[in-house]
Every structure is written in C-alpha cells, then in structure tokens.
Amino acid sequence: MKLLDRNGFRTDDFSRAGADGAARLDAVIVPFADLPSTAARAGKRLGVDIPNTVTVEQLAPHFEKLALIGIAFPASTDGRGFSLGRRLRRAGFKGLLRASGPLIPDQFPYALACGFDEIELPDASAARQPESQWLQALGAITLPYQRGYARPSSIFEQRRQARKEAAHG
C-alpha cells in the first residue's frame, strides 16, 4: 500500500490494529466492527476503516474520538465513496478522510473536492502510475463548474463574483 496526498507520496503515520505491536503505536486504524468497543486514548490518534455502505448516522456518534476515517473504494468505478465522503464532511467530520483502493489519477481531484485528504493505493497501481501523474491530474482542469465543493474556486463562483463586482462597480 502507498499513501498519497496533495503533495505527493508520503509515509503513513497510521497502522492497522492487529499488526504486531500496533496497539502501542500513536496512530491506529481499527475495523468498523471494533469501533464501538475502542476507546479514545490520550495522546493517541484513532482511525477507522469503513466499507462504503456505512451511513453517516452510524459514524456520527464517534466523530469526537476519530482522527481518521478510511473509506474503501472496492473498484475505481465504484463512486459511492465520493458521496459518502461528502456527506461526512457536511455532517461536520473534521478529521482526516482517506480513500482506500485502486483509484486512478484522474479521480484524485474529485476525491479532494469531495472532502478527502489522502488516497491509499494498492502497490500495483502506484507502480504503474508514478507520483508525477497524480500531481499533474490535479492541475488538468484549473477551474471546474460546480460550487460548494472543497476547491479553491469554481466557474459558478467566479461568475458570481463578477456579478457582485459589476453590481457594486
């Protein structure tokens, strides 16, 4: 597995519970089933792996203790995670949002716009698709249309600004 954020490949601070000595580490990801029984511990960060069928209602009670939610993308064509990520952000989740699965570079800007911070890639995808392709994909469309997504700006927003200025000018 390789971890990627908007700056490129990076090391993963988190490890999965169950791996040797994981419980002693600072940042641990547990399976969704273990979440209710896992308590937040002082000075440690807790993350959870979830399938893309989990609902916001199931997760919201745990937002406080969660530093990371990792949503599984079972295939690059399964876009449920984009909507789930967006729902989690709109429900107020402030921690790290991770997309886990074989996404492709062209989906990287979409993931960020829907509120994700990072992508955890299978090694085979990372081997074929070097860092440069991921970073380049972020700049492919400098100004997308939709407003309200986690992006610096949008065409609808720029036009709105222009109207505002015209009205005041």
Partner: protein, 555 residues
C-alpha cells in the same frame, strides 16, 4: 444558441488536453484497458465491432451551421465521410482511430463542441424539446435550464462514477416531444397557481430491459433550487442504487424497489440539508439566457400569400408541407422538420456533402441554427413561410425533401449489429426492408401517423418500447430473431408496448407489419390514427391476425 464565455472555452480546451494525456497514458501502459475504459467512455469513445466510435455531444439537440460544417470536416478527414444522428440527439462517427481522437476533440473545441459525458456511468448529454424557444405552447424556453444542467454536470466530482448512466430531459409544455418520461430524471417547466414558473420533476423512467414510465417526485420546485435538488437526488442514487447487477443499476430499479414515496422522502431529507444558492442560480440562469442570441424576427403577417400560392400550385410541395411544418410562436415563421429517412436509406445517416449543403441552407433560411430530434431527423426552427417553397426546392437537390415525417417510413433505428458491439441482431436492414415495403407514398398517407422504432438489443437505444410498433432484435438459436410489440407511446401519455407473440425471422418482419397495419385499416373509426385504434381496441385484437399470419408462414 448558447455562446461560450471565457470559462467555458478554457474548460473545454483543458478537457481536450486532459483526454490527450489519458490516451498517452493508455498507449504507454500506465493505464490498463480496464482503467482507461471508463475514461474514454466519459469522453464518448467506444470500441465497437469494426472500429472505435466517437459520440459527439449536441447539447439539447442545438447546432449552428458552422458546427455542422466542422462535423463535415471531421467526417472527411478522420472518418468515412458520414455521421449518424442518434435518439439522444448526438452524432456518431463510426471509424475514428484512438490516436486521432484528441485531434478531433481539438477541432470540436474550435466550434465550442465536445464529447463530454456522451457515454459512461455519469450524467449524460441533456436533451430537450426540439422546438424549444420557438414552440407556441411552451411556458418558457427550456434550453437555458438544459444548459445550466450541462455545465453543472460536466466533470462532476461526485457523480462521475454512478452505478449506471443517468439521462436528463427538460421540456416546457404539456405536450411531450422529448420522451421526457423515459429519462432517469425528467424536468417539466410549469407554472404554479400563483403564476410563478418552476419545475415539475419526474424520476425513475427508462427503457432497456425493464422499461418504466417516470414517476413524479416533485410537483413544484421553485426556481433557483434545481441544482441543489438534483444534487440531493443524485446523491441518494449514487449511494443507494444497485451496483451488483448492471441491469438493475439504473435509478428506475431503485425507485421501483423502494417505492416512489420512500425515494421522495430520502431525496427531500437530503435536499433539506443542501446549501441554498437560490438567488445565485437564478442569476446564473439569467446570464446563460443572455448568452443565447436574441432573434430579431421580422414583423410578418400570420398568413403568407407566397406560401399559400405555392401550396396550391405545386402538389409535391403541398405533400411535403403536410407533414413537415410545426407552428412557430412568431407570425409568418414556421419550424420545419427535415426527414433523414429516405425510402430504403439508413435512418439518421448524413453524408459530409449533405452536411455542408444543409449548413448553407441553415444560414440562408433559418438564421444559422438547426436542431436534431430524438426521432433522428433535423429541424430548421426559424424559416419564413415566404421562403418555404424555395427551401423545399433546395432540399430536394440533396435528397433531403422526403415527405414522410411521422409516417410509417419515418423509422427510428439504432445502429444494431452493423456497428454496435452490444447488439444481438441487426436493426438497420429491418428498417430498410420495412421502408421499401411501404415505399408507395399514397399508401403511407392512407395509413397516416405511425411510429416504428427498432432496437438491436435489449438496451433499447432505438426506443422500441415506446414505438406504436416496436421491434427488438435478439438472437434465437444462432439466428437473428425479432420481437414485435404494439401500443407503445412516446408522448405525455407515455405507454410501453405489449409483446404480440414469438420472435420472427428477419425476412418475415415486413409482412408482419403489413398484417398489423391491415387490422388497423380494417377496423379504424373515422379519422382515427393508428395508435388511437390500438388504444381503443386493445392489443389482443391485433394478436390474432399477427399469430395467424405467423403460422401460415411457418406452414
């Protein structure tokens, strides 16, 4: 038509560069075919039987003469000199090469065109009434709303990997000329009791393996809230639509399985949490409307003496006029439907020569604008009645004056197994055989309005379910076999046709159509059209004749 601003322009250019990069990554092996496939489909590039196929978006069916000329250039330079208009009002080229596709996109971008989301599991090219903006019966022009949706849905970060394709149509009159209720979402611009205009929203329509008529989810959505509502609806679908079975992944199955009321509740709950951009959406809609050019129609009298005289003195012209005109909202003008269904021809095909010729006529007679219809015909929306006779004479020179709009030879046909990799049987040769069988114009007139629609597989691109007579090509024991349905209706009274009996061999189809038509001619009441007779008598009345004939042939 809508003219791009600098943002639209840059967006489309960047999209071309992005696709060029995607193609390069595919050719280098960075992208596997499995990864590349959704990317090329999102840009309208299919791999068909004999070659790639590029589907070019004609948003809500509107084209300029300049754009049509550019399509002719592409047809000659990168294809085999012809294109095919589809039931989604797009244009398909059947022979492009993958390595050339980015260059073709560049040529399209030069005339403000693209292939964005003409395929793939995303929000597809939006369609609208072909008479939008000129129809006397519309509440307002639906094209700006369609354009707003086009922009909003383009490269949508959340809805580009849906369970399945998602089609939206917009109309603005009670009459439905865009098969609105067969769409995943259908939007009708309406007025409420207070006289304000807003949107009536339908969801869960669709053809394909499980045909469904769209059901109403919202009686009245105020202006300004459309994108927030669509976002809510698409989010519910994206999360809850089935992904375990391709044939159950359309929104119609979700709506059917949980019921329209539960679906409505979920959408409303999501909508209640939506950001309110409403003033802004109205301002954006106003900006878009202003980007459509203002037509300076001449002040003409409602009755054109030139036209009336020509109609009297030239019977061939009168015959063409009888089927081709649609009432324009402005006095002295007409919207004209041009048949792309010459007798025995390939429905919806147009050669590059015809494109150039027609583009010139569009400039001379229709203020430079034309439309594509879901019935695979063209429309010149702005013709002066005074000019109709001259237009008709010109059309005749290029074989574009077939007087059969709406008649038995005006057949919708998908490409079928002559091109399509998904097909189970051919459809074009069936259309040609029926067209030749009914070539006699007097007979066509005697039969009157009759819509035959043919699909080459269960995906139903040829709309066979809503054909007055529908034909579906299947494979049976290693042979092409055709199922016939009766009583479908694509209008505001949308109905799904009923199966008449077992499948027929290709050669037996025209005779079967004859028998069905025969029952109608026998039993029709005075002035009754084919579909009216079918609805009055019921399908069973036709079944007996259909089956009896089929048995005679088998014997």
């Amino acid at each position: 038509m809508y003219r791009y601003d600098e943002f639209d322009e840059r967006f489309v250019r960047e999209r071309v560069a992005q696709f060029r990069d995607q193609v390069n990554r595919r050719l280098s092996g960075a992208l596997t075919e499995e990864e590349f496939r959704p990317l090329r489909l999102q840009n309208g590039l299919y791999l068909q039987l004999h070659a790639y196929m590029l589907r070019i978006a004609i948003p809500y069916g509107v084209l300029s003469s300049q754009q049509l000329c550019q399509l002719a250039v592409i047809a000659d330079k990168y294809d085999r000199g012809y294109g095919h208009f589809t039931t989604r009002t797009n244009l398909q080229f059947n022979w492009p090469k993958l390595k050339d596709a980015p260059d073709i996109l560049d040529l399209l971008a030069d005339v403000q065109m693209h292939c964005i989301q003409t395929s793939g599991n995303d929000i597809r090219n939006v369609t609208a009434d072909q008479f939008a903006g000129v129809a006397g019966d519309e509440i307002e022009d639906p094209r700006p709303v369609a354009e707003l949706i086009r922009q909003w849905s383009s490269l949508h970060p959340e809805f580009s990997f849906l369970p399945r394709k998602f089609k939206i149509a917009v109309i603005a009159s009670q009459a439905d000329r865009a098969v609105m209720k067969s769409h995943d979402v259908g939007i009708r611009i309406v007025r409420n009791k207070a006289g304000e205009s807003g949107y009536e929203i339908f969801a869960g329509g669709g053809l394909g393996r499980t045909p469904m008529v769209g059901k109403r989810v919202r009686e009245f959505l105020p202006k300004g809230q459309l994108l927030a509502y669509l976002e809510a609806l698409l989010r519910v679908y994206n999360l809850e639509g089935r992904r375990d079975n391709k044939f159950k992944a359309r929104i119609k199955i979700l709506v059917h399985e949980i019921g329209i009321d539960a679906f409505r509740d979920r959408v409303e709950a999501e909508f209640a949490r939506a950001d309110a951009f409403s003033d802004d959406e109205n301002a954006e809609l106003a900006r878009i409307s202003a980007q459509f050019e203002v037509r300076n129609y001449e002040k003409l009298s409602a009755r054109s003496e030139t036209f009336e005289a020509a109609r009297k003195s030239d019977p061939a012209f009168a015959e063409w006029v009888a089927h081709s005109l649609f009432a324009h909202k402005v006095d002295g003008y007409a919207a004209v439907t041009i048949s792309l269904k010459p007798v025995g021809g390939v429905p919806g095909d147009m050669t590059s020569d015809q494109m150039r010729f027609f583009a010139d006529l569009t400039d001379r007679f229709s203020l430079g604008e034309l439309r594509v219809t879901h019935a695979q015909n063209l429309v010149l929306p702005n013709v002066k009645q005074d000019d109709l006779h001259a237009l008709w004479r010109e059309l005749g020179k290029a074989g574009l004056a077939t007087p059969n709009v709406g008649l038995v030879t005006d057949i919708i046909s998908c490409p079928g197994l002559d091109y399509c990799a998904l097909a189970t049987a051919r459809s074009i040769p069936i259309a040609q055989a029926i067209s030749n069988r009914f070539a006699d114009k007097a007979r066509q007139d005697e039969i009157g309005p009759l819509q035959i629609k043919i699909s080459g597989c269960i995906n139903a691109c040829g709309h066979h379910h809503v054909g007055h007579i529908g034909i579906l090509g299947l494979e049976k024991r290693g042979q092409e076999s055709y199922q016939i349905t009766l009583g479908g209706d694509p209008t505001e009274n949308m109905a799904i046709g009923e199966l008449l009996g077992p499948g027929l061999a290709a050669g037996d189809v025209p005779a079967a159509i004859e028998r069905i038509v025969g029952v109608y001619l026998d039993k029709r009441a005075d002035g009754e059209t084919f579909i009216e007779t079918v609805k009055r008598l019921g399908v069973s009345e036709f079944k007996a004749a259909f089956l009896a004939g089929a048995q005679n042939e088998a014997a």
